[in-house]
Subunit: 416 residues, 2 copies
Amino acid sequence: MSELLEKCTAAKNAAQLMISVPSAVKDNALEAIADALVECTGEILEANKQDLENAEANGVRKAMLDRLRLTPERIAGMAEGVRKVRDLNDPIGEVINMWTRPNGLQIGKKRVPLGVIAIIYEARPNVTVDAAALCLKTSNVSILRGGKEAICSNTALMRIMQKAAYGAGIPEGALNIIEDTSRETATELMRMNGYVDMLIPRGGKGLIKSVVDNATVPVVETAAGNCHVYVDGDADFDMAVKIAMNAKVQRPSVCNAAETLLIDKAIADKFVPIIFKKLQDAGVEIRADKAAMDIYADGVREASEEDWYTEYNDYILAVKLVSGVDEAIAHINKYNTKHSEAIVTDSYTKAQKFLNEVDAAAVYVNASTRFTDGFEFGFGAEIGISTQKMHARGPMGLEALTSVKYIVYGDGQIRE
Amino acid sequence: MSELLEKCTAAKNAAQLMISVPSAVKDNALEAIADALVECTGEILEANKQDLENAEANGVRKAMLDRLRLTPERIAGMAEGVRKVRDLNDPIGEVINMWTRPNGLQIGKKRVPLGVIAIIYEARPNVTVDAAALCLKTSNVSILRGGKEAICSNTALMRIMQKAAYGAGIPEGALNIIEDTSRETATELMRMNGYVDMLIPRGGKGLIKSVVDNATVPVVETAAGNCHVYVDGDADFDMAVKIAMNAKVQRPSVCNAAETLLIDKAIADKFVPIIFKKLQDAGVEIRADKAAMDIYADGVREASEEDWYTEYNDYILAVKLVSGVDEAIAHINKYNTKHSEAIVTDSYTKAQKFLNEVDAAAVYVNASTRFTDGFEFGFGAEIGISTQKMHARGPMGLEALTSVKYIVYGDGQIRE
């Protein structure tokens, strides 16, 4: 039996047992995991050192090395994250509603685990801990498949978590990591129908595309974010500057950062010089349409059609002048990835129109797109940000890791 | 441009416009559709006659001919179904909850359409009307791809519905049928990422397997039902007989009918002869395990391992004796398709255990599995019964055809 099939089989069996594990046992296990991570800091750093050495030998680029590197502080942070997950309310078992039918049947809609959740991600060992903790909290079994660059760190982290969790009463097989990091095995995992109830890819475009193309198990697509800020003619200027800057430069590498700024022609003459100067002072490269360049062209590059589609994740911003909220909405709905979109305006009508007509997971009036995040939304956790419309949309907290089951109480009802 | 791409493009554009169509316009359109179906009965029957003639010439079997055949009564029934959908509450626009964050951001979770829903189904013209009406009611655009045997009926029905709906103010492109019924085009439809937000297969195992294997767009898997009734040692005998009979024989061809009866050994000596006789009197073929045959073997065939997996959809029932609720649950979780499962018992503890531990969309105590149905659950409609855990589980009413969007009201918030 292959490693994958063996672990999927164990996972499926454990999923059945997880249904009966009380909340308190799960919380104790999370506590034990947090303690163990801190206690085993030396062991984790040793494994991580091996990954870092291999990565350097293979010429892995610096940004990836940074994400791969663990320190005692980062390990303590991971443990702290696990404790925060422990402290959240357990959504499992909640009966969302219950009603009685005319024939006397009482029907309740109860929140239950999804079962087995597979997560495919890149070389970020923190995801190993994070994903395992969120799945455990929601009585789901996790099958993790991380990037090959982090395999030593990931297996060490998993070994430590398994020992702690199983020691605290979690059924064996509830936490799994696939040690074979070949592409073929990843593809096989995407096709384990009957074993995997949900697959979440966490990572760059290439990974997500590969999952969407190859998976036959149910997938939640995450994270590509081509987000827009539209500064309307009725915007408060200071607020518009503040929001546009924040959405672009506060952390350009993340999916909820803005990639295109749309500016109402009605205020472009005054607004463009102010915001372009500020953006350039912050080190942002501007790619603007001709109309904007007619106002301010110094150091600005002309945008191509390609730019409207691009998620830079970098200090680059596309800028386009539009003739008002309708053109802004049309542009966004054509080019966006349905992630996060903002309008800055003091017009009630235009704000409502934007909220209604823009097709995205999160639509903002007078706030930065950077708030699309499970923690900022108050969910207390996040397994990813869904950009599809089925099952979960936007930041996925604990509830997104649950399914429902109808429980029906009868007293002999049959169908006539 | 192919018919498929043309219609998908029109559908995507219409989906954007559908967002702004008020409830009253949708309801008027549904009313207009119902009226038009009745008025155009002659035209529909004419098209249906063509399908029936082709089907007979191609040697299509009688059961399929029956499903294919339309009559004035059946058309009136379809129109009546559309009026019932019109009368349901519109779920679109509901703000499910709204909260304020410490920074003052007000975040609301609003119910929105999924967008474009594709439905692939077999030779049942009633699905054409039913699916189009449910999608329209929920502001979704439908792309229907029915079986080739019903193509004349389906195109006639669609032409009539389009004329009525567009005349009542629904944007053109909101209702679509794919006239090219080739397998290749169906497969292409399953891979129209960026155009199709949800794909629902409605039909037999072969169709569903083909969709699961080939689709890259998000899918809701429906309908295979290997359902069980477990008669516990603490069951009321009369109730157990009534429920077991109802679950098997009231309508054996449907997915929520029982396929296996599990009987507690504690009462088998008394219960087996009674229920076997009744089942045989009702024309049911029994395939039992050895233990049951030791009690009653007359006309009973021995069950094979294969039988435990089989959805007969027919007057056939597999029967197995079990040593109590634990073995019943283990058997069900091993062989079922996560559809509908019932226990008959007067034991509070065993009832709760069964409800908690059986993994299925609907779990019953002392009622027939036959109630798993959008109408019987009180949803007023049903687009199918989901047997997957993501997005929707069990009977899918209007809410299953919706997504959510976070709407965020700020007053200048930026992320620090």
